[in-house]
Amino acid sequence: MLGLILFYLRRLLIVFKNEVLVLPSRVVTVLFFILLLLLPLLTKDPYLLRIFTLTSIFAILAASWDLLSGFTGQMNFGHALFFGVGAYGAALLNKYVGIPPWGTIPLGALGAVLSGLIIGIPCLRLRGTYLALTTLAFPIILMGIVFALPRLTGGELGISGISRLSGSRITDYYITIIVMLSLCTIMWKITDSNTGIIFHAIREDELAVRASGINTTRYKLLAFSLSGFFAGISGGLYAHFMRIAGPSTLEVSMSFQVVIWAIFGGIVTIYGPVGAVFVLFPLLELLRFWQEVRMLMFACVVLFILLYMPDGLFRWLRDRIEKECPRCKIRNVALRHTCRICTAPLD
């Protein structure tokens, strides 16, 4: 029994040494995971924990945008719809039916999936800019409905008095961090799977994918509902963490914010949007001392970084520290002169 455990431990160590330590990006990812999980041991500051909780909630949202718009190329300008449906769904179920948070969040996310399917039907016939401009409309339509039914939705004030995610700040933090890390890993795995490859192919050339006998409509709907599910979960977490679900979750600026995060970090990566949220959201909080110029500084940072890294910050960084082998397409540290697998010279 002990031998078996030791065997697996040794194998884990070998995998760690040969697969993780060889690439700086993987080391950084592992460090990121560890740091996030150990953060409450380093500081008990409730303000800092609150920021990181919100950051991780939005990280799920940005990554889910990337899953839909980055990978399948279905530019979605109305991602706030999923977020808002998740938040309102969770809030309504919690307030009027009395379901605790662990039930409302997945149910709210299912609501978001449903809305993804509903908007998917008209949107599947559109592409490119048409799609982007059309999707912008849906959260605004829903917002109109929310304002028109103030008795149910609280109108402008939103639904308040929802039960808390958990008893304490630290538990809240751990719940959201663990949900975020696992959901982002799941999304990353999805994009790495067969389905993800088809998603990516749809982005590159939809006609060719259809010609290969793949039902692209079905895959696009799948992308819409998967992305809706993840975004809905982040909406539900947000509602229960802030204890309010208001119309601000449906605003145009919310949708734009998601697009900014994702493209800033680099689309078609999953890690890019997550990283971008972890850079930009705390940055925005850091700038709160100049309350008036905060958004202006934010916009300027985005503008100037884009001028130099139009492919996104994290892609740019990764290209600086890693090189792709021209022969076997495996990534290597930029310091190496030969590929670590096939020993072909790297230029």
């Binding site: 008209p122 016939r125 559109l126 592409r127 490119g128 800019t129 048409y130 982007a132 401009l133 059309t134 912008l136 409309a137 849906f138 605004i140 339509i141 829903l142 917002m143 109109g144 409905i145 304002f147 028109a148 050339d205 006609l207 145009v252 600026s253 734009f256 697009v259 900014i260 493209i263 800033f264 689309i267 008036e292 110029v293 958004m295 202006l296 934010f298 916009a299 300027c300 985005v302 503008l303 884009l306 001028l307 139009p310 492919d311």
Partner: protein
Amino acid sequence: MDLLLNIVISGLISGSVFALLAIGFSLIFGVARIVNIAHTAFYMLAAYSIYVITHKMGFHPIWGMVTAIVLVTLLGLISYKIFVNPIREHEGAVLIATIALAMAFQEVMALIFTGTYLSVPALVKGYFLILGVKVFYQQLLTFLVALLVMGVLWALLNRTKLGLAIRSTAQDREVANLMGINESRVAMVTMGISVGLAALTGAIVVPLTILEPHMWMHPLVMMMAVVVLGGLGSLKGSFIGAYILGFAEALVVFLAPMGSFLKGSVALSIMILVLLIRPEGLFGVYFEEER
């Protein structure tokens, strides 16, 4: 009867505004494939500069309008040159560059004017009565100027060499380039025209609206809806789509209970219903997929 006339007036005004905005937006989209989210931010900037020139400096509104249009067009060209031109190959980057630009403008205006609601006096004061309904001269002026500008624009695009260059670049950038059209210069000129149109819209509509730093959001959404409804790249489509949505908005505001909350929703629902039947919009030319 009063109600009907009010609806007609309000629909015509907002329809013309949307039409002017949407035409500018689809011009630059057609020529340079730039989805310019900052388009209505220029409209807001023009409105604010008129406020400054007429209120703070005390010039005549006509001078205010002219200077505002020139200034905003220059600003648009400069920001295009600095922020958009270097990254034009990256579609996504251009998109968020324009969003960030719009946000930056909004924040600058909020810093200077502190988000309070401001208003500008009408260019021509007074009103006349049609069947007992007040029609302000400013409303009439706005409508007529909008029609005039659209006519001039139509002539520019269809009757001049520059218009031919713009249309051919919109149709096929590479072939236009091969035919000796300086594509980047056409893009620059079109950007100027587009921003100028936005500024002009701001200038003629400013006495009818309230100035505040977020005033660009609602026209942005409606403008995009108009562009999609009418068909991207079709000026006729933008024109008709704008009046459809303008009237839809006016009808909802005047007739439905809590209409001002629902006006956006209803107009956008109409757009989606049309798209369900005609995915390329009312008069859309179906763009050949660029592969």
